[in-house]
Symmetry: C2
Subunit: 204 residues, 2 copies
């Protein structure tokens, strides 16, 4: 029999409540949640948008459309299309009038971040953004440690150039800790990267 | 018989040269060319990018992907997908560190620009950008006159609000001429909108 409180709310046994609480607790750890870095960044950006903190959106996945059907009385259906390589980074927008641009990547690697996660055209895009005075960075996540870092595009380019000159094909975790900034996982927002921008890029 | 000049270039009769020249002339007029406003803006943005003037890209068309096939030894094929409504404007990027955001629309209408060309969510996006100090505007083209205007988001919002209050559902051409700025069609770049930004938004 279901029991209802006088306020109309249903009675939930303490045990179940604890479970649902436990479930929420679990949301704090990546490994136990279904959410990806992308989900968390989208949530974060939505949080910023709702509160007027910043306007940052993820760009749609670029698709080369080959064939479209236009059935009568219903929506156009794309019947053949292919994924295209993005010519820019995934996220951009505005914060205090300034242009913000970043890419987010994760690795299963424990000790270093492989540079093959970035494509040449993305690197080139970041260079053009930096040259144009935009605020550009990458958000890197080590999945095994569940740790997230913000690394400025300047530093990423430094490591990219080291690779181009025959150096190592990755950035060590120590290097990221030294040159980058750790972003603690939060509840709301999940990944509060905007907080770091003021100090990092000397905005008032 | 084909005749080659000593420099290896092929001889082209004057007549043909004139034709090809004539063809290029035609490119100056919209009505006689196959190019769309989008093509011209993409060319313009490419011009800005190559010369380090600004970094502005068109966002990919948002698509809701439903079914993807992964054939062996060849690229993934999207077999079913639908067009999604964009939640932002189509173009954004950075100019002198500042965030630039705009939408481009054309009308066949001769005397006014119908506001139905804009969706509520695009208008809302523009508001958030303006509030965040971004540079936001629309590029409007009257196809019959082949005339292009830049109108700031502030002004567009003013006309949008007038409509919301029961006023007319379009902006008259006179209003656009008064509040907006005419962009003369050029050869390179085609639509030199960045030129107007410095004055309009008081950038140094």
């Amino acid at each position: 029999m279901k029991f209802h409180y006088p306020n109309g709310k249903m009675y939930i046994p303490k045990e179940k409540e604890a479970n649902s609480q436990g479930h929420r607790e679990k949301k704090w750890s990546y490994s136990k949640r279904g959410m990806t870095l992308e989900d968390d960044l989208n949530d974060t950006n939505e949080y910023y948008l709702q509160r007027g903190i910043a306007v940052i959106h993820k760009k749609p996945t670029p698709v080369q459309i080959v064939q479209v059907d236009y059935p009568k009385r219903s929506a156009a259906v794309i019947k053949e299309a292919y994924f295209k390589q993005a010519s820019t980074t995934d996220y951009n927008g505005v914060y205090k009038g300034k242009y913000i641009d970043f890419e987010a990547k994760e690795t299963q690697n424990a000790s270093s971040f492989p540079l093959k996660n970035f494509h040449e055209h993305q690197i080139n895009h970041m260079k053009t953004v930096v040259d144009q005075g935009g605020i550009c960075f990458v958000i890197l996540r080590f999945t095994v440690h569940d740790q997230i870092y913000l690394l400025s595009a300047d530093h990423l380019l430094m490591f990219w150039n080291r690779q181009a000159e025959g150096g190592r094909k990755s950035i060590t975790r120590e290097e990221i800790e030294y040159h980058g900034y750790s972003i603690p996982l939060g509840f709301q927002p999940r990944i509060d990267y905007i907080k770091l921008i003021d100090n990092l890029f000397q905005l008032s």
